[in-house]
């Protein structure tokens, strides 16, 4: 659960920034950046997990630069969930920010707003619904993350074991009562997410 929360916060910040970049800035290679950000959506989770493993693991750039090895820790689980959930947030943010009329942003500029003020006082409030929807969806996706987490964080009970991993163990050990509980929990969360998103849908006019 904490994994999901931290991952969601991370995803919302990175995803919104990336969405803003893709929606508003034009530079060569933007399509490649966008494609890379969306890639985890179509790759098998184990592939994403493998990338993360090489990136964070011993001999990887993070180990080399900072001498920190986060593999098979709580932090790795966060990164795994975040990377897998990020595409959903990026897409939601891009759509939401594209939906904000650039004329409004220009109006704010002529009224004395700095670029940061334009973003926080105009773009963000107007894209709010889409961003919240993206955040909810990302949270649901992060919560349900299985494959990539297993690869980089392992399945260490009490440390890196997330709900889906716990479910896997429960079924393996034929603890069906526990499994039913977790399944109900995850399904419920998913359902609630979509209901929230549906509620947000009617456009702010």
């Amino acid at each position: 659960m904490e994994v999901t929360s931290v991952a969601t916060v991370l995803v919302v910040m990175v995803g919104t920034a990336a969405g803003l970049l893709i929606a508003r800035v034009r530079f060569p290679g933007i399509q490649l950046v966008e494609a890379i950000l969306l890639l985890p959506l179509v790759l098998p989770p184990s592939v994403v997990g493998y990338y993360l493993l090489r990136f964070f693991g011993s001999g990887g750039p993070i180990d080399g630069l900072f001498g920190v090895n986060v593999v098979f820790t709580w932090v790795a689980a966060v990164f795994a969930s975040a990377v897998v959930a990020l595409p959903l947030m990026v897409q939601a943010a891009r759509t939401a920010i594209r939906g904000v009329d650039p004329v409004l942003e220009n109006a704010a500029r002529t009224l004395g707003s700095s670029e940061a003020a334009v973003f926080f006082r105009i773009t963000l409030p107007l894209a709010r619904r889409g961003l919240i929807a993206g955040a909810v969806l990302s949270a649901a996706r992060a919560l349900g993350e299985f494959g990539a987490t297993l690869m980089v964080a392992g399945n260490i009970p009490g440390r890196t074991q997330t709900l889906p991993l716990f479910l896997y163990d429960a079924v393996q050990n034929q603890q069906y009562g526990m499994a039913n509980l977790i399944v109900a929990l995850l399904t419920g969360f998913g359902l609630i997410s979509f209901i929230i998103i549906g509620r947000l849908e009617p456009a702010h006019k």
Binding site: V103, N106, R109, G112, L126, H204
Partner: protein, 368 residues
Amino acid sequence: MSERRLLVDVHRRLPSFTLNLRLEVGEEVMVLFGPSGSGKSMTLESIAGLVTPDRGEIALDGRVLFRRGHEGAHTNVPARKRGVGYVFQSYALFPHLTVLGNVRYPLGRDHGARDRALALITQMDLSQLADRYPHQLSGGQRQRVAIARALARDPEVLLLDEPFSALDPGLRERLRADLRVLQLTRRLIVICVTHNVEDAFALGDRLAVLRDGELEQVGTVAEVFRRPSSMSAARVLGISNIFHARVSSATADGVALDWEGLRLSAPAQPCSAGDLVPAYIAPEDVKLLYPDRPVRGSLVANQMHAVVQSIQHRKDVRIVRLVVDNGHELEARAPGYFYRDLDLRPGAPILITLRQEGLRIFREEELL
């Protein structure tokens, strides 16, 4: 206090067209007139700092807002520091803020911002609406909010992009008058983009005619409409009464024209005998004659017979469309109280004259 002055000298090349314009505006309403795609909006955006010209200079009272040339230091003051108020075509009110929120927005979190915003709202006659959201307002109310918001930081320059295009005629008239009052009381430099002739007449001190990014003509509104400097300016202004005539003689005393069988005389203008030239007579210079009254002065020369085609009554002007002997159509405009005693019905024969001084020849050889 010395008069405020805005110098605009902008050049910007785009794939579709090139903007090339130099304009000086004082404490007045300058109307930028032209068809869509002529560069009017881009000129405003350049002044506001929303687009960056390739080169040129924009200076307000000697303070350089933008300067970029082939050499020397570049200056490009960001939009937020230019002190230029901008009223967008769609008004661009912030939909998530109330009227008060919108007007207060540019004032930041300062002490007294709320009071200042409220004072402006009252001044713009919006006090009943301070807590409404933009979607709860009518077009005219939205426009007033947009103007109040643009004026909140006391700009010296107010730019308006098609401010009246979404409003009905009665309201237009009132808001034009309001804008004039604001211009005078706040000593604003106002630049207003429009492609509406009546807006131009009612609002403008001076008129700048744009076509394809180039300045065709600048002058007082009356002057530009009466004497368009070129045929393309005339066409941009939607002016009728342009025709082609052959120059039969051109001397220092005057020009004689042959307009498909009708002999016309015009004041001396550069052209040479034998040329086929575009000629123009302002609708105000097409005079209807009373058969029983003597004709004098500059009205003697270009008399001809015509048949009334249609009559249109506008608020204080009457437009009479006529067909002359050679089959061409002319338009005559006069105040409604003129020609009361004339029998003006469609089909009625009538004697008209083209005021000699008003007959102009355009230099360019463009085909109509």
